[in-house]
């Protein structure tokens, strides 16, 4: 193979032009060396390329996928404990959320007609590939669960599909954390420890919210408790994340969407275990607040990540600190 080796004379002794040395001309007059400030970016340009994902597709998918997965789990739990109303509402909700998820995922592709190319391979190194296969396993079961429940046909198959979708649903609701964390986007990547718990909590809260909104009061107790528990987990995970990330967590701490999401979820969850136990209208309002809260949280996380990708300081400074630490450790050793 031809290589860069521009030599006309073939002699190894002659210096090639590429051996010209910068700064060797000499003769620099002594000057008061002005203190150099350290530039930490190239004209303030981001180091990373901005994710091409759109919030109305991918942030929406984070929400809908969580809602679908956790609703299926809730449906399975409700069915096994003799709450057919909650089970049915959750199954139908899960199926709708699944459809919405697929719409968002496909809509965000540059070439939607090539969606099925995702099924060419299975790669554990790609959460998107893993997620596609989770959806492939979960989708038919969620569909069968809802269809058998609504029609009353094949109850045995329906039971199996309900349980299967309930189990697969936990994977669907949480893998999305790995999906966004497995990027170079500082906020998303650095938060990978808390992200799955935050997403699981947010998913449970939204599924609980949908259950409260749709199921008969008498059967909605698990939904109310799931909403409360989910909201608690979500809030704890979020505050731990914001603290642990230090300077990188700034976009999270600044996010108004995240604060709004927390407020809505907390209000919904607290209303859920108080007034919504007796009043249908209150239950519906609390459920709607929980759904809105979960959606705000997902959009908030999404936008905080975008903000961190678009500002070089979130990429450069942590890496510099890491290098300095490594250097210090080497010197100590």
């Amino acid at each position: 193979m031809s290589q860069t080796d521009v030599r006309m004379d073939g002699s190894a002794e002659t210096r090639a032009d590429r051996e010209a040395t910068p700064g060797s001309a000499g003769g620099r007059r002594e000057r008061l060396v002005t203190h150099r400030e350290r530039a930490d970016s190239y004209y303030g340009r981001p180091v990373l390329n901005e994710p091409t994902w759109k919030d109305h597709d991918i942030a929406a998918y984070l929400f809908l996928g969580g809602l679908a997965g956790a609703s299926s789990t809730l449906a399975a739990a409700a069915e096994l404990t003799g709450r057919p109303g909650l089970a049915r509402a959750s199954k139908v909700g899960a199926l709708g959320a699944l459809g919405g998820s697929l719409y968002c995922l496909i809509h965000d592709l540059g070439r939607p007609e090539r969606f099925l190319n995702m099924l060419r391979v299975f790669k554990v190194t790609s959460p998107m590939s893993v997620g596609t296969w989770i959806l492939t396993g979960y989708g038919p079961q969620a569909g069968a669960a809802a269809a058998t429940d609504m029609t009353g046909l094949f109850p045995g198959l329906g039971r199996a599909a309900t349980v299967g979708a309930g189990l697969a649903g936990t994977a669907l609701a949480t893998y999305t954390a790995a999906l966004i964390s497995d990027t170079a986007v500082p906020v998303w990547h650095e938060a990978y420890r808390e992200m799955p718990f935050l997403f699981a909590g947010s998913a449970a809260a939204s599924a609980g919210g949908l259950g409260m909104l749709a199921a008969p009061l008498a059967e909605a107790a698990p939904a109310r408790r799931a909403a409360l528990l989910g909201t608690a987990v979500e809030c704890v995970a979020a505050s731990r994340m914001e603290r642990r990330l230090g300077p990188v967590g700034e976009p999270l701490r600044r996010s108004r969407l995240l604060r709004l999401g927390e407020a809505l979820s907390l209000a919904g969850a607290l209303a859920g275990v108080t007034v919504a136990r007796r009043s249908r209208v209150a239950a519906m309002a609390a459920g709607a607040a929980l759904l809105a809260g979960s959606a705000c949280t997902r959009f908030g996380i999404f936008h905080a990540g975008m903000e961190s990708a678009n500002d070089p300081k979130y990429t450069v400074q942590p890496q510099r600190r890491r290098l300095a630490k490594k250097r210090a450790e080497r010197e100590l050793a």
Partner: protein, 271 residues
């Protein structure tokens, strides 16, 4: 890492060594790349960033020449601009063809693949434009092309290599700032060159991406820089995002189990 790419390729791995100390900022590489690879025009703007008008690497810019103006001495050289120290740094940036390439790891369609030369290439006809590779790349190299909807980046002229031709940018570079060849040999050459430049008084010179133990396992395209990487818009300590993926999956597993247990508990009580 268990998998050693260099060993696997049996010394067949090729690469770029971009020696920025002799770059003159002529942008011939940008032009040659666009022409050979039919990379579409992506705006001719006046950016005010010195002589830079391509801003950064993207789907439609596969070689990008950075221009940095600094009030800092260039070794022992007299700049001759009055009482001011001055130097002009130029560097032609490109896809690093990482040993551990995040873009390749996360691609869910298998569109991105590792070639027999050790480079990383997108298959345009397979990519469905999911865009996952874009935020995965720690260098901000790969992008999604608006017109076609699929990802695009430097291929190290995959179509020229079998013919025994070097990539278009290296071929055209008038100063040999871009050198193409066998990666091991380039690394040796770069070590020699670094010593030479440092002895000439450029103590801030350093190699970037040469070390096979760095966060991306060494880059197939590495650089000799005259200042900190971030000055050129490069991340100072890039790490392949999938390095933390095993831990991510463990956390996801715990959260999924927790979700299951939590919902089971909420449904347990009758009332």
């Amino acid at each position: 890492m268990a998998f050693d790419l260099d060993e696997h390729l049996n010394g067949n791995r090729v690469g770029f060594f971009t020696d920025t100390s002799i770059c003159i900022g002529c942008k011939a590489c940008e032009v040659a790349c666009k022409e050979w690879n039919h990379v579409p025009e992506d705006g001719l703007d006046f950016t005010g960033m010195s002589y830079d008008n391509t801003v950064g690497l993207s789907a439609d810019t596969w070689r990008h020449v950075a221009f940095v103006e600094q009030r800092t001495p260039m070794g022992r050289q007299e700049p001759g601009v009055g009482d001011m120290d001055f130097r002009w740094l130029m560097s032609s940036d490109v896809c690093k063809h990482c040993t551990h390439a995040a873009c390749l790891d996360v691609c869910p369609t298998g569109s991105l693949f590792r070639t027999e030369y050790g480079t990383v290439v997108v298959q345009e006809d397979v990519c469905n434009g999911c865009g996952y590779c874009v935020p995965a790349c720690p260098f901000g190299v790969i992008g999604k092309r608006e017109t076609t909807g699929v990802a695009a980046k430097c291929t190290m002229c995959y179509d020229r290599l079998p013919a025994g031709e070097e990539p278009a940018c290296a071929k055209t570079c008038p100063t040999d700032s871009i050198q193409f060849g066998d990666l091991d040999e380039l690394r040796e050459r770069a070590d020699r060159r670094l010593r030479q430049v440092q002895e000439a008084g450029m103590t801030s010179a350093r190699l970037y991406g040469r070390d096979p133990d760095d966060g991306v396992g060494g880059m197939g395209a590495f650089f000799l820089l005259l200042d900190e990487p971030e000055v050129y818009g490069l991340p100072p300590d890039p790490v392949v995002t999938t390095r933390d993926l095993p831990s991510m999956w463990r956390h996801v597993g715990m959260a999924a189990a927790g979700l299951l247990a939590g919902i089971a508990v909420t449904a347990w009580r009758r009332r």
